[in-house]
Subunit: 209 residues, 2 copies
Amino acid sequence: MDLKEVKTIPDIVVGRLPIYLLALQHMARDGRQITSSQELGERLGISAAQIRKDLSQFGEFGKQGTGYNIAYLIDQLRRILNLDRVWDIAVIGAGDIGHAIAGYQGFADRGFRVKMIFDNDPKKVGTKVRSFVVQDAANMVEEIRKEGIKVAMVAVPAQTAQEVADKLVEAGVVSILNYAPITLNLPPDVHVEYIDPLIHLQRMAYYLA
Amino acid sequence: MDLKEVKTIPDIVVGRLPIYLLALQHMARDGRQITSSQELGERLGISAAQIRKDLSQFGEFGKQGTGYNIAYLIDQLRRILNLDRVWDIAVIGAGDIGHAIAGYQGFADRGFRVKMIFDNDPKKVGTKVRSFVVQDAANMVEEIRKEGIKVAMVAVPAQTAQEVADKLVEAGVVSILNYAPITLNLPPDVHVEYIDPLIHLQRMAYYLA
């Protein structure tokens, strides 16, 4: 039975699952086998009750008093998050951020693999970024569609980000991680998340006074 | 009266304020003067009731039926978030991410200014990254303390991030934005936020099946 079909899980709960997964993977790497909602909670700054409630939405993963089996819970979270396979990614923009993404160690471990990188600058097209040859953004729709890629990271200037996003949707992309400091207008079935360092800095500034 | 002294505001509420601020600033730039919790909510995918509740924690910013004065609400949010001044930032790590941060347009507008950049690689120390000369990480504690910098961005490999963070705390930094894919162990009075593209990608993968 696919538990996800049974009911709609709030986005905010789904949003916490990768954080639980990461903490569990760190514990597994440290040789640990069992943990508790208390321990996870202290590590993550989330209440134990919240963690139990979040996980119980997807099934019964631990028993009162015995805790969670770390390896089992990792497997279950990966299955729930569709991370029991590897998703190819197209990166748009071969600037500083594009370079950082292409060089980032740890995508494969966590369910993703950068597959291609595009730029519209003739000086960049054909050059190498890490192990990737930068492709011409003019061929983006065709190439992404041909490979059946569903996930893209947008690392272009704000003024071209909407145009790029529209092309990605045309190419069949349904998940976009946007580094450009602009809100994208997209069809409701396309998921977008934003990486904006200023939002984080501003949030912390509240406590700075 | 400083409203912040009156009661403790939940972190999750504080976390939404920069998102409201950004949307309001976009509206102001479009020449708009009045908005409503409904309009903000539709734009941000947050319920109007939640927005009204969040803002009411800090005072009375709008009247039923007349909406919010955008310029006034921007001023109030900037004051609440301590963004009615500019905070200097130290960047640690002059790699791809460090370059991207140094070149990012829009810090100043939003309350921050990159002031110095450090690296421990002798080949990088003394070279220029945008308008900054890369300083030797060995002098980090002294230089940051001398300038009274409270905010830092960590863009070093995972294996050196904890050591760097410890030095930042020693130098008096109390807000750290960490790009290294590792959880930092820090005193409770130091705020840390993480930028991890994989967390965002994994969250969206839930909807990919």
